[in-house]
Amino acid sequence: MFVAFQEVFTLANILYLAKGALLSIGIAALSLLFGLILGTLGATGKRSKHALPRDIANVYVTIIRGTPLLLQILIIFSVIPSMYTAITGKILRIDPLLIGVLAMSINSGAYQTELIRSGVNAVDKGQWEACETLGLSNWKTLKLVILPQAFKRIVPPLISEFITLIKDSSLISCIGAVELLKGAQIIGAQYFDVMSPYMLAAIFYLVMTCVVSMIGMKVEKRLSVSD
């Protein structure tokens, strides 16, 4: 089954996979970033004293966490263009990479909502009271005092989230985005040997996730200066 390994293991093929790997990590990084923004909004909504933002955040988290990411990708992939066609009568073509980032950001945002919320809840109540006695508004308290402390606490789970996103980015191969997994499949089809490129892809994923987790540990260490 590894008959073609020598033939597959060429510089050109490795570069091709490396390009796919770069795309995968780029998609994951963008999704983590947009997810962080959505997650902050979601967590703020969930903690709001008003019912509407609370309800919106709850529905968002329930739906996104309760359905498979693959299904969400497929729905966004088909729903947005068909809605566009229904409204304007024209055909819309969107880059599958863009769909991927969109779907994964929305997905990650739901998980990060819960993450950030737990981080905020873990900050000592006395911090809120201190801000209150100094006259800081709720919003400034959250922005300047609570969130910085909350984010520091959630660095380890955020790194896990990033690693999950790197691996889950392989799901968008099914809507035609040529990331790392799809790249491996394309090479496999050329050589009638999928096993060798799959193994190479696995190594790429492993290297990326290990590097990310190492960087995570460094960041954690640096943030602990004030501990």
């Binding site: 000592d124 006395g126 911090q127 009271e129 201190a130 801000c131 209150e132 006695t133 100094l134 006259g135 800081l136 400034k140 300047l144 005092v145 910085p148 402390q149 520091k152 200066v225 004030s226 501990d227």
Partner: protein, 243 residues
């Protein structure tokens, strides 16, 4: 300066405060003392508005403190500084940043102005050289002195202290009390919830003794300690002074 009128406060059916009235005048150093659970911390927190009150009124400089009048209420609260038992310094900021934050964000001072004021008060509490340290690298006594400086940076008219030395190791209590004593000498009006009877007696001008949510006895510090009137105060004092 502060007038508390018939304030009641309940926590799930337990009377934390029952019909409490109290007057604080300019230059007073009032010690709130009493057994644990007597409501002294609750009273202090109600004065600052950290707790809502169920009934009664609180006046500051003759004006009613009214939660519904948000803007005014905030201005009134800003005239009072608050020091917590557990310091509540911001661990993600240096000592200097702790002292500058609210000056810049609330009083809208420039960074340079805020720094000048912060260093002035840090110097006052003897911690100017710790300006760039993080709170977690300070001792308990140093943390509390920074917390006092941070509150003073907002130039309050009144300082409220909620058991400021209760979380400290014994050898650090004095450095905090010394700072408070200096503050009193400079004419700061203070209300202090404390278990430090020596401080209440020597530095305090008046003592308010609470038990079970009520004010049992109120007197000048000297008179209260040398000649307590009520049985409950006598009983309490016999328990806290070991001899």
């Amino acid at each position: 300066m502060i007038k508390v009128e018939n304030v009641c406060k309940n926590f799930n059916k337990t009377h934390a405060l029952h019909n409490v009235s109290l007057e604080v005048n300019q230059g007073d150093i009032i010690s709130l003392i009493g057994p644990s659970g007597s409501g002294k911390s609750t009273l202090l927190r109600c004065i600052h508005g950290l707790e809502t009150i169920d009934s009664g009124k609180i006046y500051l400089d003759g004006e009613l403190m009214d939660r519904n009048n948000e803007k005014k209420f905030r201005e009134q609260r800003n005239k009072m500084g608050f020091v917590f038992q557990h310091f509540n310094l911001f661990p993600n900021m240096t000592v200097l940043e702790n002292c500058k934050l609210a000056q810049i964000e609330v009083l809208h001072k420039s960074d340079a102005e805020a720094e000048t004021v912060a260093l002035e008060y840090l110097d006052k509490v003897g911690l100017k050289e710790k300006r760039d340290s993080y709170p977690n690298n300070l001792s308990g006594g140093q943390k509390q002195r920074v917390a006092i400086a941070r509150a003073l940076c907002m130039s309050p008219d009144i300082m409220l202290f909620d058991e400021p030395t209760s979380a400290l190791d014994p050898e650090m209590i004095k450095e905090v009390l010394d700072v408070m004593k200096d503050l009193g000498k400079q004419g700061m009006t203070m209300v202090v919830v404390t278990h430090e009877m020596g401080f209440a007696r020597k530095v305090g001008t008046r003592v308010v003794f609470l038990d079970q949510g009520e004010i049992i006895e109120e007197n000048t510090a000297e008179e209260f300690f040398s000649n307590p009137q009520s049985d409950r105060a006598k009983d309490f004092l016999s328990k806290v002074f070991y001899d």
